[in-house]
Symmetry: C2
Subunit: 338 residues, 2 copies
């Protein structure tokens, strides 16, 4: 079927070694170079990466295991990673495990069979059990967004300082006199959820505020969840005067819920959102929000993985913590409450 190097060899009269050297950037006599190039064209030769992988023992494939493909923050990271990795001739196999630990483990095994050179994972299974096989196989593992306690020291990671980010937002609100601050979190027991809750509680404590349980809601990191959570908060007798919402989809849901209810921002309620994604465009130019650098997360992850792939001997595992920024908008104002 497809032409092989052997065909090139026959066509040019050159040895396989010469042809191989030509393709791998070696020095080849001008005359031979031309002969090879002609043969390539004539025979429509295309290098076979599979054979090369078998020989070199590296596939130039990175496996990426994520909880959900239908999440703008995640696809934004993947997009930025994939871009960089492909430029370095690495392919990305994406496995969506639908936030199911069983599927996640299967995905890891699937990827190991395919001999991926490295694994990037936004972990669903907080115990990290699914990554044991990858660690055994001695391939670099890189966590993104979520740390896994049991893997500390064994893997690298790229995360943001969630507690700090949440603290930043909540402090902003307490400084403006808000004491009744609603919090819309993701799913319970996720690393990011816990960290952001911690940041919230610390900031309240610093302001001498006792947390109110019914102000803390779980919106499951979905638009719908955010919508529901905020709708519920609005039904409270003693409504919060301010809201901190902890991801993009839920922020969208929040804004929709508020608009549906005719609540004005910030006149009636102060709001701090989370994540500024392209999808947002210029729709909420006035929203005060915590920005996660998702493009940088993707870039850092890709580059860190490339690093790990280069220096396989260096056993140093790095945890890169990126900082978030509070973008000032006009969705926050001083508390009017007595």
């Amino acid at each position: 079927m497809a032409a092989t190097m052997k065909d090139l060899s026959r066509e040019t009269g050159l040895g396989l070694a010469t042809i191989s050297k030509y393709f791998n950037g070696g020095v080849v006599r001008e005359k031979n170079r031309l002969a090879i190039e002609n043969a390539v064209k004539k025979l429509h030769y295309v290098p076979n990466e599979v054979a090369r992988s078998l020989k070199t023992q590296q596939t130039r494939v990175i496996g990426v295991v994520i909880p959900e493909l239908s999440n703008a923050f995640i696809t934004s990271i993947i997009s930025s990673m994939e871009d960089i990795l492909r430029k370095q001739d690495y392919a990305v196999i994406v496995c969506d495990c639908r936030s199911d630990p069983k599927r996640e483990k299967e995905a890891v095994e699937f990827l190991l069979h395919r001999r991926v050179d490295g694994l990037i994972n936004m972990a669903t299974d907080a115990t990290g059990a699914h990554l044991k096989a990858a660690l055994n196989a001695n391939i670099p593992v890189l966590l993104i967004d979520r740390l896994v306690e049991s893997l500390r020291g064994k893997v690298s990671a790229v995360v943001i300082d969630n507690a700090h980010a949440a603290g930043q937002a909540v402090r902003k609100l307490t400084e403006l006199g808000h004491r009744k601050i609603g919090l819309v979190l993701g799913s319970p027991n996720l690393y990011t959820t816990n960290q952001r809750l911690t940041g919230y509680l610390n900031a309240l404590k610093d302001a001498g505020i006792t947390p109110t349980e019914e102000y803390i809601r779980y919106g499951n990191y979905t638009m719908d969840g955010g919508y529901q959570a905020v709708s519920d908060l609005l039904k409270l007798k003693d409504r919060p005067t301010a809201l901190f919402v902890t991801n993009f989809e839920m922020t969208l849901g929040t804004m929709l819920a508020l608009q549906h209810s005719g609540i004005r921002v910030p006149e009636d309620l102060s709001v701090i959102g989370f994540d500024k994604l392209e999808l947002f465009g210029e729709i909420f130019p006035d929203l005060t929000l915590i920005r996660q650098p998702q493009l940088s997360i993707g870039r850092e992850a890709a580059n860190l993985m490339l690093d790990l792939l280069m220096n396989r001997d260096a056993v140093s595992h790095r945890i890169v913590t990126l900082s978030t920024a509070l973008t000032e908008g006009r969705s926050v104002r001083a508390c009017a409450d007595g």
Copy 2:
């Protein structure tokens, strides 16, 4: 490093053929089966798909080339495809070409080097030039969402009946007496844009309505674009009384724009949206919309690809056209205009 079949052979005293047969579902003597299973455990043997690929001349990898990873409709399709393909032990390499024909072509070449067994493409380059190499390589090519004229008869495809879908929506509106119907399209010159425009124009024609150029807007298939397009439509002196918006993101943008402007739906304006994605949840339960079966698109595409992979000789190229449905909500009412 990793154990190979040779190691299993040494460990069990069996021949390579037996071991291979065991892994490929052949019949092996009970005693030997156990011996192999023990050896697998003991040596942590993991089959090497790379070697298998080289030998069998199939990688069990499908390349997927898409214009944007940050689009809910697209990720929804990919998610459903990937699910099915992985269950059949096919891996998916996703390449996001950022709607850039040059990148798209590079992605196809990248995938061909890796000897993917098949290619699924939501085409950016409407000329189809980027797929020539894939066709030459004689691997199955499957288009989704967008047909490419020059490739008719050469590739399979899974699409929806865009013109019909748009016609359905617009007819609904004209039947209710609307004559001033705004249309929010995606990017100019895309297959889906053109088809949906055609459906709109035909439906208007059927109702004896002369199209008004300024009612036809391009929102680029983004939330922001939809928001802008609708904002512009609202500024018109002679506003439309109804709106048909042709994708999910733009529908979201539309609803936000309307809510910002205090326009009530359907009291002040009738709206028909597009796509019902999970992300939506129950936020707009009352929205009348055209539903594209994105999960079915993914499923059909995956299964069709698997089919093509099985019957490589059958040169029959199928175009599967899935139908859309109009979901009745309460965002549409009879035209109040004199």
